[in-house]
């Protein structure tokens, strides 16, 4: 194991480091480590999570891992860049993978990578079908509450991402299909929703409300206290009797499934805490994205989830011996006073703009590092154009690996 991943996994006490520079995240060491079985990419929306996941998976595959990448809601363009027109719940092979030049022991087989997209409703339906007899399953699948819950409830995507991850992992362990799973996480309201999904589901299932709704079906008469009567009448008043009845039917129907649901959610949660999992927090050099990243880092620590490091995407690239912004602007102004019609003042002003951006980004990263000095970090420069093909993804992969 490399020093970088080593440190992140067996951190003991606060590091008494005064260095402003975060330790370097060694992405290749992480991808090459056979102990790494699951990589979870998390972060707020619009920071390039899905592209990063795909690029990591591709790089791992072309370094000899058998990889599947589970994306949540990829842009059509990204699916196409992997040579797949339409991604769905079934893993599909990414064509045209090659061993990079200079691979030491080049195997005879071609590298292998599958890609898939989470189909939330399909995944949920499958869980129901696997847990209940056909008749009961049908009853559940048709209930309006189930339909709404499985297709549009804000937490369902997170929960189903966990469920799918658990499934793929169990299948991979059994059949030896993959030795690395790269997971993208849903574009949540908050990056933390992903971790909270199983807990929320459990608390829903254990909640007093559900127990109350089940009470009439189970029927001990002494349950019908004054409080419950008030409760039912208030509910009826707000929801209407028909809604309440649908809800009761739904809850009664899925009651028997709950144990299975909860157990699986719990298993996947525990799987994420094992050493085989590595969380990568993805951010952009923006205050909101880095704030979310900081929350996530703290939360992972609290939940004893193994954090591998931070990826800061979309960074402004500068060369080492740069002219600072003020100097560049002053020089541009001097040239303009001479009224020479050249492109140079424009170039200097562009340079100044770039330096200001870079300075601001560096300050934001420094703040993050000051609060979380132990988190290995890699900064990925923004590409001038979007990723269109495997070569584009390979380039992102190289940047992630710091080469």
């Amino acid at each position: 194991m490399s020093p970088a991943t080593d440190r992140s996994r067996h951190r003991v006490g606060p590091l008494a480091s005064t260095a402003r520079e975060a330790p370097m995240l060694d992405v290749d060491a992480l991808l090459d480590d056979p102990e790494t079985r699951i990589i979870v990419c998390c972060g707020s929306g619009g920071v390039g999570k899905t592209t990063t996941s795909a690029a990591l998976a591709l790089r791992a595959a072309e370094r000899g891992r058998h990889v599947v990448v589970l994306t949540i809601d990829p842009a059509r363009r990204l699916a196409q860049s992997m040579g797949i027109e339409q991604l769905d719940n079934t893993p599909r092979p990414v064509p045209d993978l090659t061993w990079p030049k200079g691979t030491r022991k080049r195997p005879t087989k071609a590298p292998r990578m599958d890609a898939m997209m989470l189909d939330m409703k399909r995944t949920f339906d499958e869980v129901v079908e696997s847990q209940a007899n056909p008749e009961k399953a049908q009853q559940i699948l048709e209930n309006p509450f189930y339909v709404a819950l499985s297709s549009s409830f804000a937490g369902t995507q997170e929960y189903m991402a966990m469920e799918k991850l658990g499934q793929i992992y169990r299948d991979a362990e059994r059949d030896g299909t993959y030795d690395l799973i790269v997971v993208d996480t849903p574009p949540s309201r908050s990056a933390l929703d992903f971790l909270d999904a199983p807990e929320r589901l459990s608390s829903f299932l254990d909640g007093r409300f559900i127990k109350l709704l089940l009470a009439p079906a189970r029927g001990p008469a002494r349950m019908m206290t004054m409080g419950l009567q008030l409760f039912t009448s208030a509910l009826t008043k707000i929801l209407g009797a028909q809604v309440l009845q649908d809800l009761q039917t739904f809850v009664a129907a899925v009651d028997t499934l709950f144990g299975g649901f909860r157990q699986r959610a719990q298993q996947t949660y525990q799987l994420l805490q094992t050493g085989g999992t590595a969380f990568l927090v993805i951010a952009a050099p923006e205050p909101d994205a880095l704030r979310e990243a900081a929350y996530f880092v703290e939360r992972l620590d609290e939940d004893q989830m193994p954090l591998a490091g931070l990826v800061v995407n979309r960074a402004t690239a500068t060369s080492p011996e740069d002219l600072d912004a003020e100097e560049a602007l002053a020089a541009a102004a001097r040239l303009e006073r001479k009224k020479s019609r050249t492109v140079t003042p424009g170039l200097l002003r562009l340079h100044a703009d770039r330096m200001r951006l870079a300075e601001r980004e560096a300050r934001l990263r420094e703040r993050f590092t000051a609060a979380h000095p132990e988190v290995p970090t890699v900064v990925v420069a923004a590409l001038p154009t979007d990723v269109h093909d495997l070569d584009g993804l390979r380039q992102v992969g190289r940047l992630l690996a710091g080469s």
Partner: protein, 358 residues
């Protein structure tokens, strides 16, 4: 950069120019709109644009309410005030109009739990029963698990702020409400509460509430503005969202292009920068003339940066054409190199005003 912004911002039908409550003439392209819903792909700066729009609308003594529903406390951070409670607060003076008169921006952080209790108190005299609901975990259930109810409550509160009338004594009435809405990926689901709830509640008070909300959202009083960057994925997502919004009968407003790069090079120079045709000797001579002694590496760096910039500008131009093809009024905001602070928000507000959005 103003020269590069699309000058065609007054394409709104005259019917939109219904009289505004303040009755002033220069109320921008969206004078008849009471509720501005601002959405965009994550990372495009929709909250920034919502805040700038609120400031821009708040002139001539007008009062504008800026709402957030995602629990981020983004408004408090942008305006540098304490975290907002579930109560309306005056947070800033608007951008003064040409006559020098400003208005005020108020803010409201809407959370579903408070909105539910508010809703219950307003529409029902539940008393003990209401507390029973809370005790039995219904509040938690309704606001986190029950499908669609959360969105009904959040949009319901916005609806109340827009439709506020004199019956609600003591409450501030607003000339416009700006909603910092969920991102484009969830916006139709969020706004189309009727479709969500109709499945569950075919009658009863929740159904009535969602019908009333939908009527407002589908009326010309509402416009859904989309924020994008001039990059492929956000523009694609904007195009997809426009289609989905229209399919759901929601009124698409403007496209606000955010974080536009500086415009320091003319087309000819951009082309030269891309093809490597800039005159490096001339640049070196200029640098020396300007008193910079950084030698050849600086020239190489500048040429490299120019190439990179020109590539991005080419992508921007391509995407700008796609945005124009969406057929919506379009406004452009510059990328501020130093980041967004309160001063930056006023700067962006002034730009929106100049371009006619407010």
């Amino acid at each position: 950069m103003a020269s590069r912004a699309q000058g065609s911002t007054s394409r709104t039908p005259d019917s939109r120019r219904a009289e505004s409550p303040a009755g002033s003439g220069d109320d921008g392209d969206w004078g008849g709109v009471r509720l501005h819903v601002v959405t965009g792909k994550g990372g495009t700066g929709k909250s920034t644009v919502a805040a700038a729009l609120a400031l821009a609308l708040a002139s001539h003594g007008r009062r504008v309410l800026l709402c957030e529903v995602e629990g981020r406390q983004g408004i408090a951070r942008m305006f540098d005030v304490d975290p907002l409670p579930y109560a309306e607060r005056r947070i800033a003076t608007g951008l003064a109009g040409p006559d020098g008169r400003a208005g005020a921006v108020h803010a409201l952080h809407i959370d579903a739990e408070s909105a539910l209790m508010d809703y219950l108190a307003m529409y029902y005299k539940l008393g003990r029963a209401g507390r029973a609901l809370d005790r039995f975990g219904v509040v938690e259930f309704a606001t986190t698990i029950a499908p669609g109810v959360r969105d009904v409550l959040l949009t319901g509160k916005v609806y109340e702020a827009v439709n506020r009338n004199s019956r609600n004594r003591g409450a501030v009435r607003y000339d416009a409400v700006v909603l910092d809405a969920p991102p484009t990926g969830r916006i139709v689901q969020f706004l189309d509460v009727n479709a969500e709830v109709a499945v569950l509640a075919r009658m009863g008070p929740i159904k009535h509430q969602s019908d009333a909300v939908m009527e407002l959202l589908r009326s010309p009083q509402t416009a859904v503005h989309l924020v994008t960057l001039l990059e492929e994925m956000p523009v694609q997502e904007t195009a997809d969202a426009i289609e989905e919004l229209q399919a759901a009968d929601l009124t698409v407003g403007a496209v606000v292009v955010n974080q536009v790069r500086p415009d320091e090079l003319d087309d000819e120079s951009l082309a030269a920068a891309r093809s490597g045709g800039l005159d490096s000797d001339r640049i070196a001579a200029d640098l020396t003339a300007a008193g910079l002694e950084h030698g050849e590496t600086l020239v190489t760096d500048l040429l490299h940066e120019a190439h990179d910039h020109a590539e991005r500008r080419a992508v921007e131009d391509e995407q700008r054409l796609r945005v124009a093809g969406l057929g919506r009024p379009t406004y452009e905001l510059p990328r501020l190199a130093t980041g967004i602070d309160l001063g930056g928000l006023y700067e962006l507000a002034a730009r929106l005003r100049e371009e006619g959005m407010a």
